[in-house]
């Protein structure tokens, strides 16, 4: 039997069409709800990226890394085209911190950036990798020697293995320190409890200890900020936190809440002169002291060399100076990165005994010195020791002798 039903109104088809229309509208609505993508094509890569769709409100990270030039992906990695947060962030280097030393080479390195040649002074990452801040070699050697795990105080182990074939210190390599393979329980405990103050390690919990790892440990001085104007508070996150109790191998947090800067130092027995609690650490301590000089050093003392006399000279000698005649002098570069001095050709600045410029200290025509705080931009003047009534013996010129007279009573 054949049924040739004519085309008639069919409620099912109407309902289906209506539902299809609703679902299509829903898809359209979902599409319209997507945020408008914000495209950025950094001049350095020439490849579009869309991070600013969500991150437009982040401050520029530094004047040296303008977002129009670098974009975000050059440093942070990530999926530059993705507009889904999970996918976009999935391949970011070092999570929120691309300067973590495990990824710094990929994020910050490259011969034109921070892992270039020593001659171009672009070997920052190599310097940091071998620096005491990263190897923690002195503390490891000291503890292992104290508890009989090694027979001398020389550095053999670091937080991670490093090599330096062109060493000037005689230390060509450090093996990786593995607390689990240590036999002495104190050394093991040291490994468990006391390895939070090198820049590979995540900091202890608490606002006072807040810092990044890697380059950011020092240079990230605020949210999404990189700076060479590093205030002492940044250093305090590690260097002013409390003390290790070597009997129990535990860290004792400081419990006081100092209100004056002079009280804000962690060594209760330490002596400090006025400039030491007025200036910032970076006003005196140099780049190579803090970031390393590219060689592996055995401990902190062997890389730290700036003394009071570096700036003030002695009774018999004025501090070392250099008159800037080469426009490519590193001092100009450093002043450019943190423009506090406006150095000019012909200016005479102080230099250290290793020739590192103290580029924020300029010699004035009357033989005194002017200094501008790198972090505070405060203006100071000071005199050399020569010609004063200082009674220090000529062969006792280390800073601790200066402290005997000039330390401020707490």
């Amino acid at each position: 039997m054949q049924t040739n039903r004519p085309l008639t109104f069919d409620f099912r088809l109407l309902l289906g069409s209506g539902l299809l229309f609703v679902v299509l509208s829903l898809a359209w609505f979902l599409d319209a709800r997507q945020p408008d993508a914000v495209e950025l094509i950094p001049t350095l890569t020439g490849k579009p990226e869309y991070c600013l769709t969500c991150h437009a409100d982040l401050p520029e990270i530094s004047a040296s890394h303008p977002v129009e030039t670098f974009g975000c992906v050059s440093c942070h990695g990530g999926e530059r085209l993705a507009l889904d947060a999970d996918l976009a962030h999935s391949t970011m280097r070092g999570g929120a911190n691309p300067s973590d030393l495990s990824v710094a080479e990929a994020s910050c390195g490259g011969s034109s950036c921070h892992s270039g040649s020593e001659a171009d002074d672009r070997h920052h990452i190599q310097r940091v990798m071998t620096s005491i801040q990263s190897t923690y070699a002195g503390a490891i050697a000291g503890i292992r020697y104290t508890f009989g795990a090694q027979t001398d105080l020389n550095a053999h182990l670091g937080i991670r293995a490093v090599t330096d074939e062109e060493t000037k210190t005689g230390i060509t390599s450090l093996s990786s320190f593995d607390p689990a393979s240590e036999e002495n329980p104190f050394v093991q405990k040291f490994g468990e409890n006391c390895l939070t103050c090198h820049i590979n390690a995540a900091p202890r919990e608490g606002e006072a200890y807040a810092r990044g790892t890697g380059c950011a440990a020092c240079h990230s001085t605020g949210e999404h900020t990189l700076s060479t104007a590093i205030p002492y508070t940044q250093c305090n996150a590690c260097h002013n936190r409390g003390n290790y109790d070597l009997r129990t191998m535990t860290f004792i947090e400081r419990s006081d809440h100092p209100t004056q800067r002079i009280d804000d130092y962690y060594q209760p027995i330490g002596l400090f002169t006025r400039c030491e609690y007025t200036l910032d650490c970076v006003d005196c301590h140099t780049r190579s002291e803090v970031m390393g000089d590219g060689d592996i050093h055995k401990d902190q003392a062997s890389i730290e060399y700036v003394q009071c006399r570096t700036c003030h000279g002695t009774l018999e000698e004025l501090p070392l100076t250099r008159t800037l005649t080469d426009p490519n002098d590193i001092a100009f570069k450093l002043d450019f990165l943190n423009p506090v001095m406006d150095l000019k050709l012909g200016d005479t600045i102080l230099v250290t005994e290793k020739g590192e410029p103290l580029w924020n200290i300029r010699v004035l025509p009357d033989g005194t010195y002017e200094m501008i705080g790198k972090a505070t931009r405060q203006y100071f003047t000071f005199r050399p020791v020569m010609g004063t009534a200082c009674e220090q013996k000529p062969d006792e010129q280390e800073s601790h002798y200066c402290h005997e007279c000039h330390a401020v009573e707490k």
């Binding site: 049924t3 040739n4 085309l7 299809l20 679902v23 898809a27």
Partner: protein, 342 residues
């Protein structure tokens, strides 16, 4: 009213029994509709997809996030492909469980089986075209399985991959197979399959003399039902595509490499699970091919059911085939679930 072209694709009337939902499940027609969606969305994707290792995953991201309604097109393509496998499997099971595969439909059964295998290969090659981190393991494992085949393994590997290892040449080959080689086969076999459905007397039902109900429906009614099916599947596709985005992963950097928690696409999970048991040639090649061979031989090794039982579910005269195929289906589902559990 004069029938339109689309109406003319259908016979003027067909037995009502051939067009009952609860008999056909609408699976074959739905598969055609899904293939059309796949063709249209696939062509749209081709306007943006870049089949080279540097840009492939990025172009997928571009489609997903930056092309107007690109996300919808990609999700529709993805969900159509997944549904196609499910619908094809249901179609195959319907044919087996209603004993519809015997002469004169035996050849069309083989065409359908070939279409099913081609659909799986199309799904796999499409999956590989993402060229992101998630495809590394399936790509290297899947292609290395070819190598385990004695004598011709290396040759097959070279044919599939094109080079010494799964790298840039592989992507271009998968692309060409996906959009051209396999697709054109599907189109040819698909038309042949549909042609044979009509040539073989429509969907399997008992001969008119043995039929309890000899009602016929017009092509108007048939088309009406097809449109209704299309609307339902279309709504389902749009809902899936709107709320469950197609998987995407970070772009691959460098050559494909094994990653942790690597997982094959869902339709190969049962093979992946077997691969954990031992010899890849036996578990990854021989057994899956054995299953395929068994399915191919079904019309040949099992007796022809009674004419009166053709076109009804689970005919008694066809029990053995039902049991064998049910065991295979249960095992495949069980292995798939086991793989998910691991």
């Amino acid at each position: 009213m004069r029938p339109s072209f689309f109406h003319h694709l259908h016979p003027p009337t067909i037995p009502a029994a051939q067009a009952r939902w609860r008999y056909t499940l609408g699976a074959g027609g739905t598969a055609i509709f899904l293939m059309i969606i796949l063709g249209v969305t696939g062509i749209l994707e081709m306007f943006y997809y870049a089949p080279n290792p540097q840009d492939a995953a990025l172009s997928v991201q571009t489609i997903t996030y930056h092309v107007p309604l690109g996300w919808l097109v990609r999700n529709l393509h993805y969900w159509s492909a997944q549904l196609l496998l499910i619908v094809s499997a249901i179609h195959l099971l319907r044919v087996i469980f209603t004993a519809a595969y015997h002469r004169p439909r035996r050849f069309n059964y083989l065409l359908g089986l070939a279409l099913f295998v081609l659909s799986i290969l199309l799904d796999f090659t499409g999956y590989i075209l993402r060229w992101d981190m998630d495809i590394c393991w399936p790509l290297t494992t899947g292609t290395n399985l070819l190598k385990t085949i004695p004598w011709i393994g290396n040759f097959l590997f070279r044919v599939a991959i094109g080079g010494g290892e799964a790298c840039s040449t592989a992507l271009l080959r998968f692309y060409t197979w996906h959009i051209f080689g396999l697709t054109i086969l599907v189109v040819i076999l698909g038309f042949w399959h549909a042609f044979r459905v009509r040539r073989d007397g429509g969907i399997a039902v008992p001969p008119a003399r043995l039929r309890a109900d000899n009602t016929r429906i017009s092509r108007n009614e048939l088309v009406r039902r097809e449109v209704l099916a299309v609307l339902i599947v279309g709504i389902l596709l749009l809902l899936l595509s709107s709320f469950f985005p197609a998987p995407i992963a970070p772009a691959m950097t460098g050559k494909p490499s094994a990653v942790e928690n690597a997982r094959a696409p869902w339709f190969f999970l049962w093979v992946q699970q077997m691969l954990t048991w031992g010899d890849p040639f036996i578990f990854g090649v021989l057994i899956p091919l054995g299953v395929l061979a068994l399915l191919t031989l079904i019309p040949y090794i099992f007796p022809k059911p009674n004419e009166a039982e053709i076109g009804s579910w689970f005919p008694k005269s066809n029990r053995l085939a039902q049991i064998v195929v049910s065991v295979i289906v249960i095992l495949v589902i069980f292995l798939t679930l086991l793989s998910y559990a691991n």
